[in-house]
Each structure stands twice: as structure tokens, then as C-alpha cells.
């Protein structure tokens, strides 16, 4: 894991629940940190459902090697935001990765040990839902590197919060600090009458944060731009920034300054 030594901060984006917006939050956080002048890496360890390359319109790109290891695929010519994902290793984006746990574990280990992140300041790791092979592997391999912590993403309703509660247990058992909980898809404003409807209930994320004694990092409402993800031909770099996630980025940078 020598190559990870050059990375200053590692943040893992987790949820117990699928479809709550982990990848969206990871992408937005990466963009927010880059906008504040940081060099960012984004590692997608969702091997069955890798979303990150599509979000930056990077499909079809390949991984290149240099003498120091695998190079991330850069979103920008200034190389301030690099991405790594299994999607870059697939010949056909419809091809399913039908791997059992041990093979997934080996791939994640390779991603963590072989990628030359150069002097990345913030490495954000996007994970699939759950508390299984991918998550255990990431934690085991990161243990020596003191990750900054985990950001947990939930939607407001009980079904999601239930899974995220289990993810908090996972964080406790694996010893990763919890930076906080973001509540995504928190309300939708009708474009016709401006009525805000809680399409996925309300308040669950904040209540969970309080119950668990962790920081509540804010709400992100459903907006058409974020919900669309990225339409063909567009990149996430063209999306408007999300205020709640900007605040999380500020918070991470402030935490850095507080360290001796």
C-alpha cells in the first residue's frame, strides 16, 4: 500500500442502503473540494455497479500505466481530479461483473495498492451499498493509513435509515470515525406550484444522527439536475454546486487546519 502514503486525506462514502445517492454525493464532494483548490482523487469500489465514470462522461477511457503504477483517469487537463473505477477495465459497459467476494476483494486491494495517486490531497472512496466484502476490504487495507472518516448518506425514510443504522455499527466495529450523516432526496419542490413534498418521508437522517451521536451534515433536496445524473454528452462538472455539500467540503478543509 506504499502508493497510498502520498495521499493526505482519505474519506469513505458509505450507506447501508442502495440508491440514496452515495455516488452523487461523492462526485459533488470531489468537485467542491477541487473548486476550493484541492487535488482530489475519486476511487469507485462499486465493482458491480460503477457509476462514477458515467457521471463525468468518461466512458470508454482506459487506464494507463506509468513507471510508478496505474494512472487515474483525469477529469480535467490540470489533473486536479482523477478517477479510478472498474468501468475503465470493462470492454463493454453492458457486461456484468459477476464476481464472488474473493475476486472483488483482490480487485479492491489492487486499486488501493497499484494506483499512483501522485500528491492527491483528498481521496474519496465511493462504495456500493452494504457491509460486505468491498467494505471489509477497504477498511482492512486502509487501517494503516488512518482514514479521516466516513460520510454516511441516507434518504429520510425509515427503510433507508434502518440500513444506515447498521452501517454506523459497521463503522464502530471497524474503527473508522464517522464524519457525519447527509440526508439526500430531502424534499422535492413541484415545478408547477412550488409545493415542497417529502417524497421519501422526512427527518429520518437528522433523527438518526442525533440518536447515534454523530454530526448531521445537512439535507440535499431532490433537484432535477442531480436526479437526472448526467445526460448523454454532459459531465458532472457542468452541474450546479450543492450548498450542503459545499459546507461539508469546507468542514473537511477546516478539520485539516485544526490538526497540529
Amino acid at each position: 500500500m506504499e502508493r497510498l502514503k502520498s495521499v493526505q486525506h482519505v474519506i469513505v462514502v458509505l450507506s447501508g442502503k442502495g440508491g440514496v445517492g452515495k455516488s452523487t454525493v461523492a462526485v459533488q464532494l470531489a468537485l467542491a473540494l477541487r473548486a476550493k483548490g484541492k487535488k482530489v482523487g475519486l476511487l469507485d469500489v462499486d465493482l458491480c455497479g460503477p457509476s462514477i465514470p458515467k457521471m463525468f462522461n468518461l466512458e470508454g477511457q482506459s487506464i494507463h500505466q506509468c513507471s510508478e503504477g496505474w494512472l487515474p483517469v483525469y477529469v480535467d487537463p490540470e489533473q486536479k481530479l482523477g478517477v479510478m473505477s472498474i468501468a475503465f477495465l470493462l470492454e463493454n459497459e453492458e457486461e456484468a461483473v459477476i464476481w464472488r467476494g474473493p475476486k472483488k476483494t483482490a480487485m479492491i486491494r489492487q486499486f488501493l495498492s497499484d494506483v499512483h495517486w501522485q500528491d492527491t490531497e483528498y481521496l474519496i472512496i465511493d462504495t456500493p451499498p452494504g457491509t460486505s466484502d468491498e467494505h471489509i476490504s477497504v477498511m482492512e487495507n486502509l487501517r494503516a493509513f488512518n482514514p479521516d472518516g466516513a460520510i454516511l448518506v441516507t434518504t429520510p425514510q425509515a427503510v433507508a435509515v434502518g440500513d444506515v443504522r447498521r452501517e454506523l455499527t459497521f463503522c464502530r466495529k471497524t474503527g473508522i470515525p464517522v464524519i457525519g450523516i447527509i440526508e439526500n432526496m430531502s424534499g422535492y419542490m413541484c415545478p408547477h406550484c412550488s409545493e415542497c413534498t417529502n417524497i421519501f418521508s422526512s427527518g429520518g437522517g437528522e433523527a438518526l444522527a442525533k440518536e447515534a451521536g454523530v454530526q448531521f451534515l445537512g439535507c440535499v433536496p431532490v433537484t432535477k439536475e442531480l436526479a437526472a445524473g448526467v445526460s448523454a454528452g454532459q459531465s458532472a462538472t457542468q452541474l450546479p454546486s450543492v450548498p450542503a455539500i459545499e459546507k461539508v467540503a469546507d468542514r473537511l478543509i477546516a478539520l485539516d487546519k485544526d490538526l497540529p
Binding site: 440508491g19 455516488s23 458491480c48 467476494g101 460486505s132 466484502d133 440500513d163 447498521r166 459497521f170
Partner: protein
């Protein structure tokens, strides 16, 4: 050879061969010990499961590549819909080991599994609707299942072999997102018993379809018939002004185009009614609580198509689903 792993040494005899682990080509292979000591041939538990599930007429998997599209919500309401006639016996098996949502959605939070001499007893929602989930084995809401693949597979095997369902017309299997251990295990363990097909859930936007296409690819590769695609969260109807709006735009044609591209049936669209999420949180059937919602009509129409598909299937045929998966 189908049983030669991708990264096997040259001249690998195949993991199922009699000389697996013993031939000269095996020297230095990291799997050598495993191959030379592991038993060959089909897993005997497959026959046990076939016998146990002989009293189940139709088995349906509910899948998606993508998380959060409504698999568990759909499975629960499909179950409620099928069980609305009390002569129809329905079972729901939740194989989402890390994120079991079914107990909450079906109003069974806090229930615990009991064992009897005939196996594990499922938990009954009504006389004709039974459920099994890892959720019933957990000590409390904070209890997390932090297991690697092999352990998850062991539990799935137990669920399929040991649950005493009795006579069922339908067994619905709710899965987690992805194409990994849980999905492979269900398909492999049901190789003898057979699966009628899979219902593929998606939401309209491309970031979902990207993952769901992979799921359809998985179904093709393991020879699991696809009953059809359901597109969830298609449209939102404002409870105040009653006008439609689209939250998750189908910029690349949505579920219907994807189904057409793969030449599989499109079963229909489900609108996003905020009361669905509320019912799920409260463990109630949306179909009963809000019978006049357009979403209820849409659910019922889709359920009818699924019933129709199953009625044309031979009951409990010894299918060869999972041949390809057995090699994985």
C-alpha cells in the same frame, strides 16, 4: 472449458476435473490445495433444495443492478397483490443479507424466527402470506451483518433448504442490488428446483439503466428467463396541484427502450406516490391503504401480467436454469 478460471495457469485441467490440483500445470497455482481437496460434481444440497421446494409452484426473483429503485417495495406489494385472494399461498424470501428491508416494509419488524422439527418457520403476515429474512435473526436494529461472501452464501443455502414454507403458489425472492454472491448463490442452489423468471426493476434515468443492463446481462449469462422490466418512480403527481412532473428523466429512453433493446417484455410504469414510501415505513400495504391511487392501478396491472406469465409456465418443471452459473 467452462470451469477454467480466467487467471488460471496454462494447461489448467479445470476445477471440476479429476486431476484438478494434481496435474503438473497446477504446481504453484494459488488454488492448488483447494482444487485437490474440494469435492467434485454437483452440490448435493441442490437436490435437497429441489425436494424441499417441490411444494412451491412458482419461484420468481426480483432483481436490479441498481440500489434504491424499489425492489423490496415491489416484492412486498407483488406479494400483497398475489395474496389478495386467500386461496393463493405466497412466500417472500429476502436474500438481502446486509440490508434486509422486507421485515420493515411488511410490518414484521422485531419478529424472530422459530425452529421446529420440519425446519425454520417463516413469519406470517396473514394466513396465506409468509416471510423469511435475515432481519428476523438480528438481535436489534443496530445489529449489522458484516459478512464476506462465503458466509452469506451459507445463509442463503440454509434459507432455501431449511425454511418450512409448506405449499406455496408463489415464492418471491427479493435480492440486493448487484450481480454477486447472493445472485449467483440463489441461481446455483435453485438449479434443481428451477426459477420461473426474474422481474427486473429500474428507474427511468441513465445512471440506473447503466447498472440494470448489467443485471439483464447477468440473467442472460446464467440463463435466467426475464419475465419483464418494471420502471419505477416514472412520474410524480403533486398532492397539491395534481399536476405531473418528472423527477428522474428518461434521457435515454427509460425502462421501456431498455427492454426493447434487449427484446424483453416491458411490464409497465409505476408513478412515485409519496404515500408508497410512507406505507413502507409503516409496514402497511399501499394497495390496501390507498386503493384509488394511479400507482395502485399500475401495480395491479403489472401483477396481472406476472400472474399471467406464471399461469402459462409448467408447474415445478425441472429446469436447467443456472447451468452456466454453476460453472462460476
Amino acid at each position: 472449458m467452462a470451469d477454467v478460471p480466467q487467471d488460471a495457469p496454462e494447461h489448467c485441467p479445470g476445477t471440476e476435473s479429476d486431476s484438478a490440483g494434481k496435474s503438473s500445470a497446477c504446481q504453484g497455482c494459488p488454488n492448488q490445495t483447494l482444487c485437490s481437496t474440494a469435492p467434485k460434481g454437483p452440490d448435493p444440497v441442490i437436490l435437497e433444495i429441489q425436494q424441499k421446494l417441490a411444494s412451491v409452484k412458482h419461484k420468481i426473483m426480483v432483481v436490479s443492478g441498481k440500489g434504491g429503485v424499489g425492489k423490496s417495495t415491489f416484492t412486498a406489494h407483488l406479494a400483497h397483490g398475489l395474496a389478495s385472494s386467500d386461496t393463493v399461498q405466497v412466500g417472500v424470501l429476502d436474500v438481502d443479507i446486509c440490508g434486509p428491508s422486507i421485515p420493515t416494509i411488511m410490518g414484521l419488524e422485531g419478529e424472530q424466527v422459530h425452529q421446529s422439527s420440519s425446519g425454520w418457520s417463516p413469519i406470517y403476515v396473514t394466513d396465506n402470506l409468509a416471510v423469511m429474512s435475515v432481519g428476523f435473526l438480528l438481535k436489534g436494529p443496530e445489529d449489522a451483518v458484516i459478512w464476506r461472501g462465503p458466509r452469506k452464501n451459507g445463509l442463503i443455502k440454509q434459507f432455501l433448504r431449511d425454511v418450512d414454507w409448506g405449499e406455496l403458489d408463489f415464492l418471491l425472492i427479493d435480492t440486493p442490488p448487484g450481480t454477486s454472491d447472493e445472485h449467483l448463490s440463489v441461481v446455483q442452489y435453485l438449479n434443481g428446483a428451477g426459477i420461473d423468471g426474474a422481474i427486473v426493476l429500474t428507474t427511468p434515468q441513465e445512471v440506473s439503466l447503466l447498472d440494470v443492463r448489467k443485471e439483464i446481462n447477468f440473467c442472460q449469462r446464467v440463463e435466467l428467463p426475464v419475465i419483464g422490466v418494471v420502471e419505477n418512480m416514472s412520474m410524480f403527481v403533486c398532492p397539491k396541484c395534481k399536476k405531473d412532473s418528472i423527477i428522474f428523466p428518461a434521457t435515454t429512453g427509460g425502462g421501456e427502450k431498455m427492454a426493447a433493446d434487449f427484446n424483453i417484455p416491458f411490464l409497465g410504469r409505476l408513478p412515485l406516490d409519496p404515500r408508497i414510501g410512507k406505507c413502507c415505513d409503516e409496514g402497511k400495504s399501499f394497495l390496501e391503504e390507498v386503493p384509488d391511487s394511479p400507482a395502485t392501478d399500475a401495480f395491479k396491472s403489472i401483477i396481472e401480467k406476472i400472474r399471467d406469465y406464471c399461469s402459462k409456465r409448467p408447474v415445478n418443471k425441472d429446469t436447467e436454469t443456472g447451468e452456466a452459473a454453476a460453472q462460476s
